[in-house]
């Protein structure tokens, strides 16, 4: 019974890796430039397993101790990638290392989980814990890679959840987040469709926010006597700030990203053709029906209708070629893996270990959910890999490394016997 969790984790990762190699092969075989990528994926899987097994045998606390170094390296590489990175589709995400391209933002995921935990454990001030995440978030945002940048948010939440600190303020953040998202949508719309008449919004919206908050707080004051004028000003300033963040973020977005955001709101109107990938993805998924069209037989995949099929839309390939049955199997494997992570969190009492596993869990869950949501037409396409399956060595290796740390934590609980 002792190694059951470990065995299940290993088994699911092995099967998912096999599926990954197969589906990468199927989704690239028809393309002259891409065919052969599955060999790179095999190499990455092999390297990933070596790294994972090595890390499993090294105490995670060593990595915690080293996490400032990891973090520093990640930040340096992120700065470097902005300066000398490989430009693909107008964004710089990769460092060309000759044999392969390295994606520092994946290292940043790995190191931010560890460094965040390290800082909390060292009783660092709240701001000191948050700042490293903000730094990485901004560095990835300007590549620009909004999708990956967004992934640091759940990681941060996962870590903070077990920090033992009062994190109720996170829920207070909700209305501000909402303002940021709404601004993102409306600004994208105005940018793309060029509604110049709306220039007066820069005056109107802050004024509206001020009025709304002022009257709401005045009503609240009748109930609670603790509210001072200072509080009202603070809340208004925070609303203004989140609106400004929304506008600022839109400035960083490329036109195609804005179009994607818009196509998510109105996929049927689709005046910009940006909903193309979502439409093709849904066609691929649906047309797989119950049993699929067979490996290497999916028409949407093999004839090239499905874009970026070996990374962002690999699940659509699985869906088209193996049908509902195959999809259910993959979902089951991913779910099973994540379920084991929850079990590990349950079993251990070391808060630091809890923080790490919870961060890993949140990272993998959010990334899987974002990718699947986009593939199934439930979320906008922001270009996120499906963990353990999408093509991409950097991502795969660091997911394996994180799994290795989880395996080590699990192993320690068993050795210690708590």
């Amino acid at each position: 019974m002792k190694n059951k969790i470990e065995r299940i984790i290993l088994a699911t990762v092995i099967i998912l890796s096999g599926i990954s190699i197969l589906m990468v092969a199927s989704s690239t075989v028809q393309s002259a430039e891409l065919s052969g990528l599955y060999i790179k994926q095999i190499v990455a899987v092999a390297a990933g397993f070596v790294i994972m097994w090595s890390i499993r045998n090294i105490s995670y606390e060593l990595f915690l101790e080293l996490s400032p170094v990891f973090y520093l390296v990640a930040v340096i590489l992120l700065v470097l990638v902005i300066l000398i990175g490989k430009d693909i589709y107008g964004s710089r995400r990769w460092l060309n290392l000759g044999v392969f391209n390295f994606q520092p933002s994946e290292l940043a995921k790995f190191s931010s989980i560890l460094f965040g935990t390290y800082l909390v454990s060292r009783k660092s001030f709240f701001l000191k814990v948050t700042l490293p995440f903000v730094v990485i978030f901004i560095l990835v945002l300007v590549q620009p890679d909004v999708g990956t940048a967004l992934m640091y948010i759940p990681v941060y939440l996962g870590v903070m959840l077990f920090s033992g600190r009062d994190i109720r303020w996170i829920f207070i953040l909700a209305p501000f987040t909402l303002i940021i998202i709404v601004t993102l949508f409306t600004e994208s719309y105005i940018n793309i469709n060029g509604a110049t008449l709306l220039e007066f919004r820069y005056l109107l919206i802050p004024a509206a926010i001020t009025a709304a908050v002022y009257f709401a707080m005045r009503e609240l004051k009748k109930v609670s006597r603790n509210i001072r004028f200072f509080h009202i000003v603070a809340v208004i300033l925070m609303f203004w700030a989140s609106w400004a963040v929304g506008i600022g973020t839109t400035r960083f977005l490329k036109d195609y990203q804005k179009k994607r955001i818009l196509s998510f709101i109105t996929p049927d109107l689709d005046p910009l053709g940006a909903g193309y990938s979502t439409r093709q993805s849904i066609l691929a998924v649906g047309s797989g029906r119950f049993l699929g069209k067979g490996l290497f037989e999916g028409t949407q995949t093999q004839l090239g209708f499905l874009p970026v099929r070996h990374t962002d839309f690999i699940f659509a390939v699985i869906a088209e070629e193996t049908g509902f049955l195959g999809c259910t199997a993959v979902l089951f494997l991913l779910g099973l893996l994540l379920w084991q992570f929850i079990k590990v969190i349950e079993r251990i009492s070391y808060p630091a270990a809890k923080m790490i596993v919870s961060g890993v869990f949140m990272l993998i869950l959010t990334q899987a959910a974002t990718n699947l949501g986009a593939t199934l037409g439930l979320l906008p396409v922001i270009g996120i890999q499906l963990p353990f399956i999408s093509y991409g060595g950097s991502g795969l290796i660091f997911f394996m490394a994180l799994t290795g740390i989880v395996l080590n934590i699990n192993r320690q609980t068993e050795i210690i016997g708590i």
């Binding site: 066609l283 029906r289 004839l303 209708f305 088209e320 037409g377």
Partner: protein
Amino acid sequence: MPFNRYYSVGGPSKNSYSWFRLLLVALFTVFLGRLLYLQVIKGDYYWARAERNRIQYFFIKAPRGRIFSRAGRKLVGNQPIYSLFMDTEGLDSGKKKRITGKISELTGRSLKDINKGFDLKQKQPFGVVEIISNLSRDEIMKIEENSHYLPGVFIQVKNRRRYPYGENGAHLFGYIGAINKEELSTLRPRGFKLKDNIGKTGIEKSYDGYLRGNDGFRKIEVGVKGEHRKLISRRPPKIGDDIILTIDWELQEVAYKALGDRAGAVVVMEPKTGEILVWLSKPGFNPEDFTLPFSKEQAAEIFQDPKHPLYDRNIQGEYAPGSAFKIVTALAALESGKAVEETEYTCNGSIRIGLDRKLYRCWKGKKHGTLDLKDAIAKSCNVYFYQLGMDTGVKIIRDMALKMGFSKRSQDIFDYENTGQIPSAGWKKQKFNRIWCPGDTANMSVGQGYVLVNPMQMLKAVSAVAATGKVMKPRLVKMILSPEGEVIEKRGPAIEEILEVNKDNLNFIKKAMRAVTKYGTAQYLNLNLDVASKTGTAENPHGDDHAWYVGFAPVDEPSIAVVVFVENGGYGSVAAMPVAREIFKDKFKDRLNEK
């Protein structure tokens, strides 16, 4: 333990595990549900849509069937047109410049003309551009020889509809054109597609189902850029059926020449079989103009021409028949017993009719004196017929007219006939709120006033007289042949109805019409042939008189009945009769030469 300091900070939040579980289960349930919806519930729908994504039909136009005269002369055919196409897939501007330059060099056409096709690129699917739409034989050879310098350039054949006789027979054949929205919405279930050609008028329209054949297609798997991956299946086009008309093209050409530049109509039919030998309407149009894309100006020119060239005067024209209608009046009077052959009236050149004593003149102000019915017909005396008509009455004349096929469709081949009108007292009351006067009856008796007929109705009435009461169904199509030459359908003579008219009366009319040619208004026909005639000069409030000639020959065994109508031609005996004369002369040339 060296890691002790990691114990001290933080503590478990109790509910986090269950929150994680809930989050995990909830998210995966949503995804599973979505998959169930997309793949299982709507799976077939998306499967079909994905199929449509990958499969493209490339239609191969079926050549339309041809149209022949009764003697087998090709009247409408097809001509292959060779067009130059270019696949712009993977074409950069340098390569394009090189290839178009080479084409320009080979064909001597300007680069500007060649590049025109690229501007229309959006209208062409999959980046295939039509560069030159009609290659000459010489150009084809040059391009074939240099094909290795011209990657992605290919020649394709289209069939263009040809009407070698131009305006002659235009109304009979009709024209074809791109299917319009309304036609498409009703015909789509029968396999019609956007951009298909369809017969718009004439035989092209009525027999479109036979002529059009069946387009073939290549079912091809295409990739995301429209590149052809593989041929899935192929259906060869089925060529349309050929149609053999009853038309005697030699006679048609005689009529065409004889009518000259005047507007009018000529129809000739075999009274015994109903086969139509000549179907001519002027002015005409060239149906080939419709096979090329029309500019707006061209369309306006032909559709708004004040001479109405598209108008088939045989069945769409509505004219006063003039004295040609006296056949109907005479027959009505005889049938009703209101008059007999010997009934006499006197013509003093004019007569006063009605309460207002209005003066009605005979034509040319002639005084015919006292006449019997036969001479009245022969000399076309109006005063005689005013009196005969008034004694017979509007109702009886009208009944006879209706019986002889006026005021209704004369044929069931073309569905756009205008049927004219035969008035009655009630009709006038309703239309103008005026009482029917004796003058109206007088006018009607000589084919004036409110009476309107078309030449085809006139022909049918005359043929009925010629065939002594047997009304044959007018036919234009003798048979339909498959592309392999097998007879698909053969149309024989069919009796439409038998006129319930006393044969003696019909024979009398024949005799009277014979007299018209012998010593009456058609005496200058002057052929050594037994011809029954009746001329008509119809007053026309809009301009010069319309000229009519109706007749048949030989009187005893009529083999053709002829109607000639000349718009604003003047006297029937001057304008219309000579056309008929040419037709009789040609039709009976053997017999005439013998004598």
